[in-house]
Symmetry: C2
Amino acid sequence: MGIADRKEREKLEMKRLIMEASMRMFLEVGYEKTSIRNIAEKIEYSPATIYLYYKDKDELLYDLQTQAFEQLFEAFKEKATSRSPLKRIEQIAKTYVQFGLEQPDLYDLMFIIRSPMKKLERPDGSEAWDNGDNCFNFLLEVIQQGIDQKLLRFKDKSVAALSMWSMVHGLVSLNVRCRLKVMNMEEDGIAGAIDATIDEYLKMIKI
Amino acid sequence: MGIADRKEREKLEMKRLIMEASMRMFLEVGYEKTSIRNIAEKIEYSPATIYLYYKDKDELLYDLQTQAFEQLFEAFKEKATSRSPLKRIEQIAKTYVQFGLEQPDLYDLMFIIRSPMKKLERPDGSEAWDNGDNCFNFLLEVIQQGIDQKLLRFKDKSVAALSMWSMVHGLVSLNVRCRLKVMNMEEDGIAGAIDATIDEYLKMIKI
DNA sequence: TTGGTTTACTAAACACTGTTCAGTAAGTTT
DNA sequence: AAACTTACTGAACAGTGTTTAGTAAACCAA
């Protein structure tokens, strides 16, 4: 069955080609200008061809999102390496915010855009979201350790995770969407205020 | 100059007509389906007519945003009436979250959507954002009182405001954009976790 | 009242978007 | 060699925001 194998490989190769072009466009010209037509032009295929490999744009964005979460996950693993759970939580928080501020378009895709939240029907009938669970579970584990070692004031790990996530996401998304302009500060002032807010928060959650 | 006056009135009347139709569509069918063409059809005018009253869609969204912030501001004034600054802060936080969860499309327009962040050039050359400043200043005032009366652990009112805003915005926007699905909870569980997170946060910021 | 100007409005077009479908040409199987 | 399958595309559909040329009515001055 060599031919079927080769066709399978070619199919995957094509998907990879589409994904790579999409990601490059995403990072180079941003979400707004990444259209199916633009991607098709970049890879020198007709727009209709993309629909032979992806059901719709959402499915493509979903795959892009997967890659983006992979990047954030790698950053977590690289930067959040301290022995102390408390310090590791700090490293996670700061890595998250840094990622969001440096890659606003990817952040958009992961946490702001409406589209690509696909639910996966599990064999047992329940539902699951796989995208982002690597990052979320990473956070959850550290928090569990923090609670176990009585370093955090939270009793419930879900509440702790939600609290932390909401804080950093709030900071990043308000800034990315320019809503902090209402505070009437300069760029530097805003960056400083964000840092100060994280530090203050990290102090608050200690026991 | 009666005729000029009447024309002026008619111009404003037309703007009001457009705004009312837009707001109705916004609340009834959501942001996504509120297009210039749909609005025009609703008020029985040509799409081009709308451009005689609004430079572009952004300008229209900006006016809608103004109205939305007015609504939130009214909610603040109505609900945040306690004597105690601390209690008033709690009332603001809960009003904000409730507003966001009950009016997701308006919330979108105010805090998530890219578009309508217009900067106003002031006479003195500086810049300002008027939309949302009523709500933000309302928060700032209460926070100032909280700091003055040594009820809050924050020293800087900007940091305090940013912290609070980020927390509630994080909660609302993650939920509105379905990102909390990754937590694998039921609807009720999520609502409960959000409430618990706010309560925990309000405890944390006390001195 | 007539004639000229200004105003209010619109039909149609432009340049985009995501998506579908009929048709073609090449590759594969019999 | 004929039949079938696969990979791909041109063209269209329905939608978006926006611009422009043209029209008809309203207004103003002589």
